[in-house]
Amino acid sequence: MSKRTDISSIMVIGSGPIVIGQACEFDYSGTQACRVLRAEGYRVILVNSNPATIMTDPEFADATYVEPITPGIVEQIIAKERPDALLPTLGGQTALNTAVALHEAGVLERYGVELIGADIDAIQAGENRELFKRIVAKVAEEHGLNAESARSAICHTIDECLAAAADLGYPVVVRPSFTMGGAGSGFAYDEADLRRIAGAGLDASPTTEVLLEESILGWKEYELEVMRDRADNVVIVCSIENIDPMGVHTGDSVTVAPAMTLTDREYQNMRDVAIAVIREVGVDTGGCNIQFAVDPRTGRMIVIEMNPRVSRSSALASKATGFPIAKIAAKLAVGYTLDQIPNDITRETPASFEPSLDYVVVKVPRFAFDKFPGADQTLTTHMKSVGEAMAIGRSFPEALQKALRSLEKKGSSFSWTGDPGGKDELLAACRKPHDGRLRTMQQAIRAGATLEELYEATSVDPWFLDQLLFIDEEARALAEGELGAEALLRAKRNGFSDAQIAEIRGLPEPGVRELRHRLGVRPVYNTVDTCAAEFAAKTPYLYSTYDEETEVPGGDRPKVIILGSGPNRIGQGIEFDYACVHASFELAAAGYETVMVNCNPETVSTDYDTSDRLYFEPLTLEDVLEVVHAEQQAGPVAGVIVQLGGQTPLGLAQALKDAGVPVVGTSPESIHLAEERGAFGRVLAEAGLPAPRHGTAVTVAEARVIADEIGYPVLVRPSYVLGGAGMAIVYDEGTLDAYMERAGAASDHPVLVDKFLDEAIEIDVDALFDGEELYLGGVMEHIEEAGIHSGDSACALPPITLGGFDIKRIRAATEAIARGVGVRGLLNVQYAMSANILYVLEANPRASRTVPFVSKATAVPLAKAAARVMMGETIAALRAEGMLPATGDGGTLPLDAPIAVKEAVLPFNRFRGVDIVLGPEMRSTGEVMGIDEVFGTAYAKSQSASYGSLPTKGRAFVSVANRDKRAMIFPVKALADLGFEILATEGTAEVLRRNGVHAKIVRKQSDGVGTDGEPTIVTRILDGEVDLIVNTPFGSPGQSGPRLDGYEIRTAAVLRGIPCVTTVQGLGAAVQGIQAVAAGSVGVRSLQEHAQRLRG
């Protein structure tokens, strides 16, 4: 058995935009798959709507379609490309669901496309709860294994419920059958609860039926990552244990690999069950993930579920072990067996083995609740985190503490200063799973909580609790006695950072570092080698620890160290990883040895294949300085790149330079010029560029004076912000006062007050500057008006309403800023065009979120070019070698260039109760690109890729603010002409009628149900009677009446998944999109075809 030669072309489906629960781990897996399949000589056809991915780089596939992942579009691509096979297991649930839909629609059969790496029956067996339960029971019986599914009973009366609960034991989970969104579910802890919850549940259920299930809350939770080949060889790649017991989604749990609290008998039973289940389910080749719950009192084991595909956990397992699951899965899918595939890391042993770890891996989630005020912050089985960090250490305390500081979020690390608070309050807080619960537990320990008390409150395994107690004891020991080599070494071995040691000893952090270096206490770097040092590792994938021997290989080639962007968060995600990976590829090609530093396990940058060396390390100053030191010891370091990983590495620039580290590209001093407001103001003044009027206020009175002077509306924000955190647009004095009071309470930093340019066109520019020449990468025009964070706004490239003269002005302004700041590399500038004046809003001397979008829309690898410029190359030279076009740039695209639309994807469906209106604070998690000949089609594609296809017929509901009424008439008329039935609230309907658009009046929510039982608009939306919603917000937050009406309308839209337009500009775009779809003009074209036209 070997590689299949009966197929020659394979389609790979990606996972689309980054959303909560489906993030860049699928770029990692998809990129690996594409690389493998191409290396094996197959023609690869890729579909993914997410332009920020590495996998959609044109060189990773033969035909790359950045198109919506809908069955209809994918069918068009299949019809055009005629692939022999489809590999759907590397693009998350999106790809798997699309494959099932294509199968069910008969598309695969019609075009003779074979599904590889997955089997429809196996997918269904894995997803159908009843079927899966039967499989578990069967394998347990046949193999004599300890495995069950959660016990349950279906009941139709209260008496049946009581009897069942007596059998199952309290607490029981009550789930009414066939209610919307699980309404009426709950935990019954006793008979009274049960009578209440099941009583209501029976009433709510249309079939008067409830399912009672035994509760496994508080049980230990484990996962195994399994691989199987077509010869039925099976290996377990990794075991993962959740520190948070059952009840918290594994994506939101702190997890550790390998499992720490299993005996061999228990582990082998789990392993046997996993293997028997995947055989029975029929996963013939590839990776899958299977989850278990274990009762800590009896060892009883329940099989929770399995995913017959690569998952977030398998990305984590790959990074944790050095066993590249997605890559191997792709090879297995084309016919190889595990023993035929070499282990990349040892190169001598085969992939048919199970990795052995001599270190501990801890993953911690990163949340963004601060962006979603009003959202329930309790962690449940519904995933809420937006990113994660992973750390490796030689012990659990070391790995855990490294992981916590990798989060780069204030208050994440354990701390021993200040009053921890009362023990009882802290223990009470620990009962409810929340972001940072381990730290709350650590504070409870400081306040005197015992292991037993913590166990009672959290059900976290006592072994982990003891580790927390141990860390606390070590911190106390560290506080006393001499801070010598012995004490420092001991602290370092337990993961204490210099900052923590400094805090505990009341010293400055640099002082601790200096002392440590003087005493020779430095980390060594161990290799992630898959085999616990049994064989020599050939791939330098390293982590720091305070062991005895360092394994950093020496070498003479000059090295470039690239600092990554850390855990994904809103405002800093995959786009920055993209830029880092590009720099690595390009600089390796240019003859450098590339060294990547990052701690995000989901990314391509942390694939050991991406750079010559990989350091899986936190991106704090301490950790980065140690990596630089270790690399300098091992050979020459040509430079450190801080410009590509977003704000995280940029924030380290000055301190690195001060420590003598060669920071390349834009100098830290220049970065400061762009980031510090006063300095940047001077740069603008010198260049004669206008900025909105502004001032800085500490008190309410000061803010009022400034606002009066520059005039409302004003944009207010804390003086140093990321992703627009804490920004607001204020229209009147009352709101300003309230904002200032909140801001004053939140921080000591002054508040920036800017004139807000109402109704301005916002423009985003990415450019490259080498000191002489400016290369305008792309000019993007926002579709929404200014005031909506650029990350959340849809935008078009080339700009759809700007003329050649405007672009000229933009180019001149950008060049003046680049020169004035002293940029060497990438620069992103945001402008607002208002009353024909081009205002400069801000400039970021780094790779921006839009770099991958611009690169794909214009077929120019901007990040690669930037890396070369940072290393001293000129734009002229890059033009000469063909990396950049010989003439022209992103500002001079031909008139027939395709239009690319970027649309942001927002996580509102995860945070029920949060208003979906866009504002100056960024809240999107990801983005998609729609690309086509004309704007309407491109926009329609972007919508269909992000939120679901725009409707082409049906009912549209319109309710807009007064200021939008004039602008709404024309597009709504167009909707009516397209055949939409128009519903509107009274005021809006009046305006429409006067303009000849027949609009039916519907009741607002605040009107209540009519006398004849006429439903309100919210009810009609919930009942699925509306196909498109246009609702622009008015009033201020917190007010009742219209504002609240809008909020309830938008919430209902999210619940039902109905397209909801919240700006009048968005409405115009949507109408163009609907017209394009209705005209049937949506075709597909690969990036390679677009590039052919753009670059010839």
Partner: protein, 382 residues
């Protein structure tokens, strides 16, 4: 870079390398062959595996003792390792079956332990320089040079005849579970409890015999099959076992050997054995069945291996034989099979404990062999 480290205990290798750490378990000193085990679970089974007799075992997994010690998982009646090297010892064991901590258990059984940061450095050292003698001193009073001298004075594993030291003194019987199908004579060269249990589950009444059992002793039971267990020491020294096996082979009874048993079969077939540089000890080794191409992930614990031609069948005094299994990591011989007589053996551990159960089917194969008409007791003799 060598860093100072807390703790007063030392691990001293015969080539002079010294590791510092903290003492746990029993106090005192101990000597043995220094080996490492890469299993991430199953320390309790490892500790009680008689094959580790006279070896100081270092675990590469950093946290050991997490699930404590229970009364069900030991593979024999006592801890056999000469010393136990871990990186970090659990203070609070956590498992519903746990009865006591690992520290208490080692103390109780008088086994010396050291917890030290340098377990990876030690593993790398052994990987590069090979297994060697070592000593653990929980409270060293002499200078290092003297400790090295004492390590060098301790006996070597090469030429060590240890099976008799760990074997049962008296024969005993493990009754079949359910209906008895076969009588198996199992020669205890260091047998693990899981082996007779797995045989018993398949209907075998297992007569466990001391290592010194002769062919006559074995055949006196009139067994349906003969099993040769795993065990410690240098197979080149176990002439008595080879002699006994020769008698069994001549009698044509089905034979199954594991680990040491594989080496004894090899020797009985006229093959040599040799010492591996650092051995295989762990639960993740890929072994390929050369007939089917199928790969089992298997438990290993061997420092010696059989030297046999892997490229095809070869002749032996008992007809043709072949290498049935090989290790995919290093190509080492992992199984032998006689083609003309009912005898086979594997170098690894189908009984697992600790380790994966992938190869448990070999016990079924043994039963099938015993049930085959041509090899069945009273059936056609060769």
């Amino acid at each position: 870079m060598t860093l100072a480290t807390t703790g007063s205990a030392v691990l001293v290798l015969e080539d002079g390398r010294v590791f510092h750490g903290a003492a746990y378990g029993a106090e005192g000193e101990t000597f043995g062959e220094m080996v490492f085990n890469t299993g991430m679970t199953g320390y309790q089974e490892t500790l009680t595996d008689p094959s580790y007799h006279r070896q100081i075992v270092a675990m590469t997994a950093p946290h050991i003792g997490n699930t404590g010690v229970n009364d069900e998982d030991p593979e024999s009646s006592r801890v056999w390792v000469a010393g136990y090297v871990v990186r970090q010892l659990a203070r609070v064991p956590s498992n519903w079956r746990s009865r006591r901590s690992l520290d208490e258990e080692l103390r109780r059984q008088g086994v010396v332990g050291i917890a030290m940061p340098g377990t990876r450095a030690l593993t790398r050292h052994l990987r590069e320089r090979g297994a060697m003698r070592a000593g653990v001193f929980t409270a060293p009073t002499a200078p290092v040079e003297e400790l090295v001298e004492r390590v060098l004075a301790s006996p070597s594993m090469i030429g060590a005849d240890l099976a008799k030291q760990v074997s049962t003194a008296e024969p005993y019987v493990v009754p079949a579970r359910g209906d008895k199908r076969f009588t198996v004579a199992a020669v205890d060269l260091g047998i693990k409890a899981m082996t007779p249990r797995l045989l018993a589950e398949r209907g075998c009444e297992v007569h466990v015999l001391p290592a010194g059992a002769t062919a006559a002793d074995i055949l006196a039971l009139d067994p349906d099959g003969v099993f040769l267990s795993n065990g410690p020491g240098d197979p080149a020294t176990a002439d008595y076992a080879v002699e006994a096996l020769t008698g069994v082979l001549e009698a044509g009874r089905p034979v199954f050997g594991i680990c040491f048993g594989n080496q004894i079969l090899g020797r009985a077939l006229g093959l040599g054995t040799y010492k591996l540089r650092y051995g295989h000890r762990g639960v993740n080794q890929p072994v390929q069945d050369r007939r089917t191409g199928k790969v089992d992930i298997s438990a290993h614990n061997h420092g010696f291996a059989v030297d046999a031609p892997v490229d095809g069948p070869f002749d032996t005094p008992y007809g043709r034989a072949e290498v049935s299994h090989v290790n995919l990591n290093d190509g080492c011989v992992e199984g032998l099979r006689l083609l003309d007589r009912p005898a086979f053996s594997v170098q690894y551990h189908p009984e697992a404990a600790a380790g994966p159960h992938d190869a448990a089917g070999l016990f079924d194969e043994f039963c099938a062999l015993m049930a085959r008409p041509d090899t069945k007791k009273g059936g056609t003799r060769v």
